[in-house]
């Protein structure tokens, strides 16, 4: 690795300068050795950030009023009343914070990094303060907590970090939206969600970044006993997007559901990568990801379920499907099961295919023009994943977004 890193790209040199070698020599050394994630790292073999990130981009400075104004014009979804807005990675406003919920910047988040991943690590060394949000025990939030990330102004790179602590038996819906202007930006964000005993947390991410943005988003979820956690992601924007999950199940009787839809067009590269680590018994995990790929877009799905020796009675099912709607679209899937316990029920399936010609004929024989018939089948394909969203208004909003995309991109 050391020999490889001797040649640094311009973008890497700027990142290294940003790390500030004097202030944080350990981080600087780590980055000097590792560099940006690239194809020779197993987990990044389909998504070569080093090759893609060519433009040297400094960390975004605190945004001025004009940049904030520009950022506010970008609106992906109706906003929740409980709203935290990040402009270029900086927390610029908070509204509707419910009583009892605390939000404070923490210089060194004490949550230890559980995963050795270069994107997580890069965020850790370059983020400013981590925004720590604490939902007290027993509290049910009546409106979703909306983390609204926006990038605007001059080209830049940003490294926001948020840690949500959901107290015992709390109930919370978290929305993350990612938008950016039509400039070159890099977002490398981390969201840590710690769920205490009995918490029910649902998380919905909507990524509609501008078409020149490089989007690297990591979600690190830690589950204690009797937790129900679900996450859904709509990946629609960005030139390149890596949406990665690291789920650690540390208590028994947990239920995990991860799902999402990627809608690719042009030359977009959309990567969903997840690891679920079952280390204690009696838990259920379900994953369902659907990718609709048009033009020359590339979709990637990598999913790994680890079942450690103690994690008996684990019930895990992972499913990923790529729908290729053009000759030049590509879908790479790498599902993996790593099972060290003997009494478990685990399965995975990953398929890539085209629309079923027989179904198309059936619909057309009933009078639907070809475009409409195709749209109906694609809509049914993604519908199965949309059903995983519990929060009804969100499900409807995302359903409408998908329909609009299909209308625009299928002919």
């Amino acid at each position: 690795m050391r020999s490889m890193s001797a040649i640094r790209t311009k973008a890497e040199e700027v990142v290294l300068e940003t790390i500030n070698e004097e202030a944080d020599s350990a981080a600087a050394q780590w980055f000097a050795e590792t560099g940006l994630p690239h194809r020779r790292m197993e987990a990044w073999k389909y998504t070569d950030i080093r090759a893609f990130w060519r433009e040297p981009l400094k960390s975004a400075p605190q945004p001025d009023a004009a940049t904030i104004k520009e950022a506010e014009a970008l609106a992906p979804l109706p906003e929740s009343k409980f709203l935290l807005t990040f402009v270029n990675g900086w927390l610029t406003s908070k509204a509707g914070v419910p009583q009892g919920v605390t939000i404070q910047p923490v210089q060194n988040d004490t949550a230890p990094a559980l995963w050795d991943d270069p994107a997580l690590k890069l965020n850790a060394v370059l983020t400013g303060a981590t925004v720590m949000i604490t939902i007290p025990d027993g509290v049910t939030l009546d409106a979703p907590l909306h983390l609204n990330y926006r990038m605007a102004g001059a080209p830049s790179s940003t490294y926001p970090s948020v840690h949500i602590h959901a107290g015992k038996d709390s109930r919370v819906t978290i929305i993350e939206t990612h938008v950016s202007a039509e400039e070159t930006y890099v977002l490398n964000s981390t969201l840590i969600i710690t769920c205490s005993r009995g918490a029910e947390v649902s998380h919905v991410r909507v990524q509609t970044q501008g078409s020149k943005t490089l989007n690297i988003v990591s979600t690190d979820v830690r589950l204690n006993e009797n937790v129900r956690f679900s996450s859904f992601a709509l990946e629609e924007g960005a030139a390149l997007s890596r949406n990665q999950y690291f789920v650690t199940q540390a208590g028994e009787e947990t239920e995990i559901s991860l799902s999402g839809i990627s809608l690719g067009k042009g030359k977009q590269h959309l990567d969903t990568t997840l690891v679920i680590d079952h280390s204690v018994p009696n838990s259920v995990s379900r994953e369902m990801f659907k990718q609709v790929l048009t033009g020359e877009s590339h979709g990637v799905f990598q999913g790994k379920i680890i079942v450690r020796p103690h994690a008996q009675k684990t019930d895990g099912q992972m499913n990923a499907r790529g729908l290729l709607l053009s000759d030049d679209a590509e879908f790479y899937a790498k599902p993996e099961l790593e099972i060290y316990a003997d009494d478990v029920l685990c399965a995975h399936g990953a398929t890539a295919g085209q629309l079923d010609e027989d179904l198309l004929f059936y619909l057309r024989a009933r009078g639907l023009p070809e475009g409409e018939a195709r749209a109906m089948l694609v809509s049914a394909f993604v519908g199965e994943a949309l059903e995983k969203i519990d929060h009804e208004p969100l499900r409807e909003a995302l359903s409408a977004r998908c329909e609009a995309w299909l209308k625009e991109n299928l002919h």
Binding site: A365, R366, G367, L368, P369, E370, A380, E384
Partner: protein, 248 residues
């Protein structure tokens, strides 16, 4: 009125239809009977416009107009309906959504005024009730998990809603027990009308006890070899297709 004139067709270079001549006047029910491999299903697919088959000669006229150059959905909008031998399952598209989309696409194409959503729902409910299809089935994914009989009833429901001028029934009796067959046949008979023709394709005479045809045609080796009244079906049932150069 359907007119098929000296129609020849092949698939992957293999000749399947060898000059079919057939006229089904408006308001009549004609049956096509034939052994396996005689070209019955091919004929139904070609009528509907399936692209896998190549029409090498002849013509198909609906209402005096050639439909050979028309797209599948244009034929449907012109009033041609094919009831599938094996109706497909479409997970994620409810029956109701499917019916509405099909109805609206056809009406739009024909430039007709659309029924209000309320009136459309009433129409679907009334037609469903006659076929023993409950509301729950309308809300489920089309044909998903339905029995063979339920799927065939769904085809008839679609026919009732879309009101075609020509309905082609491709082996609608296959896989049905006698009770299911009666329900389906009653559904078809209820739709018999002066302005509608039917082409009933079947291997067995049994269906024709319930949907009594005006004429019966025998199809073997891609050609109509005999035409007669409804009694021809009984004759075939008794003697098989052996007399027509085919093993039974």
């Amino acid at each position: 009125m359907l007119e098929i004139k000296n129609l020849t067709a092949e698939i992957e270079g293999k000749k399947i239809l060898n000059g079919i001549n057939l006229t089904v006047p408006t308001g009549e029910v004609h049956a096509i009977m034939g052994p396996n491999g005689s070209g019955k299903s091919t004929l139904s697919y070609i009528l509907a416009g399936r692209a896998d088959y190549e029409v090498t000669g002849g013509d198909i006229l609906l209402d005096g107009e050639s439909i050979l150059e028309m797209e599948v959905d244009e034929r449907a909008a012109k009033g041609l309906f094919l009831a599938f031998q094996y109706p497909l399952e479409i997970p994620g598209v409810t029956t109701m959504t499917f019916l509405k989309a099909a109805y609206e696409a056809q009406a739009k194409k024909r430039g007709e005024k659309l029924l209000s959503p309320g009136d459309f729902l009433k129409k679907v409910r009334a037609a469903s009730a006659k076929l023993g299809i409950d509301d729950e089935m309308l809300k489920r994914g089309l044909n998903v998990g339905f029995s063979g009989g339920e799927k065939k009833r769904m085809e008839i429901l679609q026919m009732a809603i879309l009101e075609p001028q020509l309905a082609v029934l491709d082996e609608t009796d296959s896989g049905l027990d006698i009770d299911a067959l009666k329900i389906v046949a009653d559904g078809v008979n209820a739709l018999r009308a002066k302005n509608r023709s039917f082409l009933v394709i079947t291997h067995y005479q049994r269906l024709l006890n319930y949907i009594v045809p005006d004429k019966v045609h025998v199809l073997t080796k891609g050609k109509i070899v005999k035409t007669g009244g409804k009694e021809l079906a009984l004759e075939l049932e008794a003697q098989g297709y052996a007399g027509y150069g085919e093993a039974a």
